[in-house]
């Protein structure tokens, strides 16, 4: 296990380096730059800005400087949000996204797993059909539609929920709903199909034959074997959801990290593009590692080598 972990950490470092390098190259290939605006800035001011942020240096030198600084934990200053460091912006905004996203992850697990199990157990009944329609809707309807519909009815028409900010628990209801609609539905469907698989297995018949109660056989034997695909899905899902959604955050005016990814790219804020990409990449690699470890706990037959 220890050796495995070490191997994974090294592999993770290589992955993150590759992500960083590809991003660095690609973003420099895109036309435009951080200091362009509708109104032209004088050549002297542009030169001063470029000198200040080291953009006047050749590509190779900038790349090496960036890697060196990043290794020391210095992700530099944002080129657009003057006076703010990239780490500072991420540190201020990630917790906001993670809080909303974390609740959404919990909601999708607590709803998705039991509903999927029930749907599988009651397969072919009306309940199963109803669940299946709801799950399809949850997957098919894009989040901006969910957001807009919620906002219109609960926020504007009925006026029972606040439409912006995160000042009270009520503010969380709409964004969490919008964020968890897709993962809940997806988990429900995953759970249902893998549960159906398991329920048809011989050992389930054996369990029934030896007189185990419905509840025990379902939740002790079946769930444990059926949950593996959900865990696989959980890794990337948790990473993406905690990072925040550009759309949900924009519509509900949540000061999270989701919008920073898009804004950094649109504004050619090079240091922010690098910072957010490396942060997401690292988090993703970490989540995948956790998933691997969780596998071994759930299914002792899986060994990490």
């Amino acid at each position: 296990m220890g050796k495995y972990l070490l191997k994974r950490v090294i592999l993770a470092a290589v992955t993150i380096w590759a992500v960083a390098t590809i991003t660095f190259v690609l973003m420099n290939m895109v036309p435009g730059g951080p200091f362009l605006s509708e109104k032209a800035i004088s050549p002297a001011a542009t030169a001063a800005l470029e000198a200040k942020y080291g953009l006047d240096k050749p590509f190779g030198e900038r790349y090496l400087t960036y890697l060196k600084d990043a290794l020391h934990g210095d992700f530099g200053l944002s080129l657009k949000q003057r006076g703010r460091t990239v780490s500072g912006i991420i540190a201020a905004k990630f917790p906001v996204s993670a809080k909303v996203g974390g609740i959404a992850v919990l909601v999708s697990l607590l709803l998705g797993i039991p509903l999927g199990v029930i749907a599988a157990y009651k397969r072919g009944t009306t309940i199963d059909s109803v669940f299946s329609v709801v799950a399809t809707l949850g997957i098919a309807v894009p989040s901006f539609v969910v957001c807009t519909v919620l906002m219109y009815f609960l926020g504007v028409k009925l006026g029972i929920l606040p439409t912006l900010g995160l000042t009270s628990w009520k503010n969380y209801i709409m964004p969490v709903f919008a964020l968890s609609a897709y993962p809940t539905s997806y988990i429900m469907r995953l759970m249902r199909s893998s549960m159906l698989d398991v329920l048809g297995q011989d050992y389930m018949r054996t369990a029934k034959a030896k007189g185990l109660s419905q509840k025990v056989s379902l939740f002790k034997h079946a769930l444990r074997n059926a949950i593996l695909p959900v865990i696989t899905y959980l890794g990337p899902m948790v990473a993406y959801t905690l990072m925040g959604s550009f759309i949900v955050e924009k519509i509900f005016t949540i000061p999270g990290l989701g919008g920073e990814f898009i804004k950094a790219i649109n504004g050619r804020d090079y240091t922010m593009i690098m910072g957010t990409t490396i942060f997401l990449g690292t988090f993703m690699v970490f989540m995948l590692l956790i998933v691997d470890i969780v596998y071994t706990i759930v299914d002792p037959r899986i060994k990490l080598k």
């Binding site: 606040p162 000042t167 005016t253």
Partner: protein
């Protein structure tokens, strides 16, 4: 076995809870400000990139800065210059030396004294290459010692003969220098806080020392900026609100919902699809700003080298239809380049004296314009567009740009011209247009300060914003005259002649004048909107 599963689930939920809880203090729960008696909640734009006066180049940033700072002069509700931190000012006979006399007992929000030296520091700082202020050129170019090629703060001719006198030497007569002295970039800033905190001074209320009607009390990135009344402001008695909260809403639909839900008292970003239902609503306002939506026909491309062709394309546009139908009345049809709001150097509106008081293009007579356009095309050697190459119109995708492009496609079809629309993402569009890598493109300008030179000089052959690559010696000569005279009448005449040439040559194609349109609750009293695109809430009140 079951226990392990439970442990697993528990561990996972703990991980999520841990991540969630570390966000608690940061933004959401710490966000409440003490309940103020009179708080105005407004939306004038998304999260500003910076609130450092020297670094800002955005309209909404300037609007926020004007509530937190006050310059030497201010612009009043009537659009006239008024005393600000300076209670009086005068310029020497040759117009080259401007002297500002500061008020007694001026103080920063941290209780320290504000003197003329603070202005010297602030203005020199704009010129510092280390600061890299984007607007240095615009605001400092009239001042002696300013060299756009090599920025040198020490050479800038600004001085403080004593604590209450601020003196500026100009390199040439600049009749509009007073407008610059009221511009958001030119606010005084405090050296002590900048020395101690660097560029970060303008990011947190603790270090954001200011001198205006309000002081920042909170800035939650992407959420809101709260400012409270500044007791040290010289005219604090005129400030009736206890606080103003600027909601940093990015999405127009979100802003509109918040307004309908009465969470915000005023919103600048109204969704365009709601406009038809809002027309006639007393809470919906439309007001002029200094700016024009225009098109560039790249004068360096063969097909647009002939002024007749450019003029024909210009005349074939039904501006009233564009402004009133396509742009839903949120713009005003433009018959001139310089629209309403711009002040004439001789006094009055610049537009009233343009072309002998008539608009250059008769916007009410489109049919005649179109006939004229067809005639011009024939004269240029392209009767019914025969032999004219297919052209590409480049635009970014925002606001009404695409509908306007589609309209142009039809309009120019009337001249027998085939046009393709090319959409380019914003970040790539600006450099592309600036480098002249296009045939026809949309463009627009909103004035920084109220002098016609700010916009008409865009067409000067060496101007960095001359995206249309219009080069006309006569035009340049008129601009040179306007730059070097202290006589308002001569200056006015030269600027009007410049516009005559511009319109005759169709150096660019004005389409519509910009307006601001916004929703504002009737309970807000005593606020006003200026043609710079700023809302002034500093002296506003809330009706019970």
């Amino acid at each position: 076995m079951k226990k392990r599963l439970l442990v697993l689930l528990l561990a996972m939920s703990m991980l999520v809870a841990m991540l969630a809880s570390c966000g608690g203090g940061g933004t959401s729960s710490g966000g409440e400000t003490p309940v103020a008696e009179k708080q105005l909640v407004v939306q004038v734009g998304p999260n500003p990139e910076t609130l450092d006066p020297a670094l800002n180049s955005a309209v909404d940033g300037a609007n926020t800065i004007l509530h937190l700072f006050e310059g030497l002069l201010t612009v009043g509700e009537d659009g006239q210059l008024a005393p600000g931190q300076a209670e009086s000012w005068e310029s020497s006979e040759d117009g080259l030396t401007w002297t500002f006399h500061l008020r007694d007992g001026l103080k920063w929000s941290d209780d320290s004294d504000l003197t003329a030296n603070d202005f010297v520091y602030a203005w020199k700082r704009i010129c510092d290459p280390e600061v890299a202020a984007p607007y240095a050129d615009t605001v400092l170019s009239p001042i002696a010692g300013f060299n756009a090629e090599s920025l040198n703060p020490d050479a800038l001719q600004v001085s403080a003969p004593d604590d209450k006198t601020f003196e500026v030497k100009l390199s040439g007569p600049c009749t509009y220098f007073g407008s610059l002295a009221a511009f958001a970039t030119m606010m005084p800033v405090q050296q002590a806080t900048i020395d101690a905190n660097g560029d970060a001074w303008a990011t947190a209320p603790e270090t954001y020392v200011s001198n205006g009607p309000f002081v920042m009390s909170e800035w939650v990135q992407g959420s809101h900026i709260t400012m409270v009344k500044n007791p040290n402001y010289w005219n604090a008695d005129a400030v009736k609100l206890d606080s103003i909260k600027f909601m940093l809403i990015e999405d127009a639909n979100a802003a509109y919902s918040a307004y309908q839900n009465k969470e915000v008292d005023m919103i600048k970003d109204v969704p365009t699809e709601e406009i038809p239902s809002l027309t006639g609503n007393p809470e919906f306002n439309v007001d002029t700003i200094l700016g024009t939506y225009y098109l560039n026909l790249n004068c360096e491309r063969d097909m647009f080298k002939d002024a007749k062709v450019r003029k024909a394309l210009s005349l074939a546009i039904d501006r009233k239809y564009v402004a009133e139908t396509i742009m839903q009345g949120t713009y005003t049809a433009a018959g001139n380049f310089m629209g309403p709001g711009w002040a004439d150097p001789e006094g009055g509106q610049f537009m009233d004296k343009s072309n002998g008081g008539k608009t250059y293009i008769d916007i009410d007579n489109f049919e005649a314009n179109l006939e004229e356009a067809k005639k011009l095309m024939a004269e240029a050697g392209y009767p019914n567009g025969e032999g004219f190459p297919e052209i590409t119109y480049t635009t970014n995708e925002a606001g009404y740009h695409i509908p306007v492009a589609e309209y142009l496609q039809q309009a120019w079809k009337e001249l027998g011209i085939t046009m393709k629309v090319e959409t380019v993402e914003w970040g790539s569009f600006t450099p592309m247009r600036r480098d002249g890598e296009y045939e026809a493109a949309r463009n627009g300008w909103v004035g920084d300060y109220d002098d016609p030179s700010n916009m008409i000089e865009l067409l000067y052959s060496t101007n960095g914003n001359n995206d249309g690559k219009f080069k006309n010696a006569e035009f340049d000569a008129q601009i040179d005259i306007s730059r070097n005279t202290a006589d308002p009448a001569e200056r006015s005449a030269a600027l009007h002649k410049a516009e005559d040439i511009l319109m005759e040559e169709a150096g660019c194609v004005p389409v519509a004048y910009y307006n601001d349109f916004w929703l504002q609750s009737p309970k807000i009293q005593g606020s006003w909107h200026s043609p710079y695109g700023y809302w002034h809430f500093m002296f506003a009140d809330i009706a019970e």
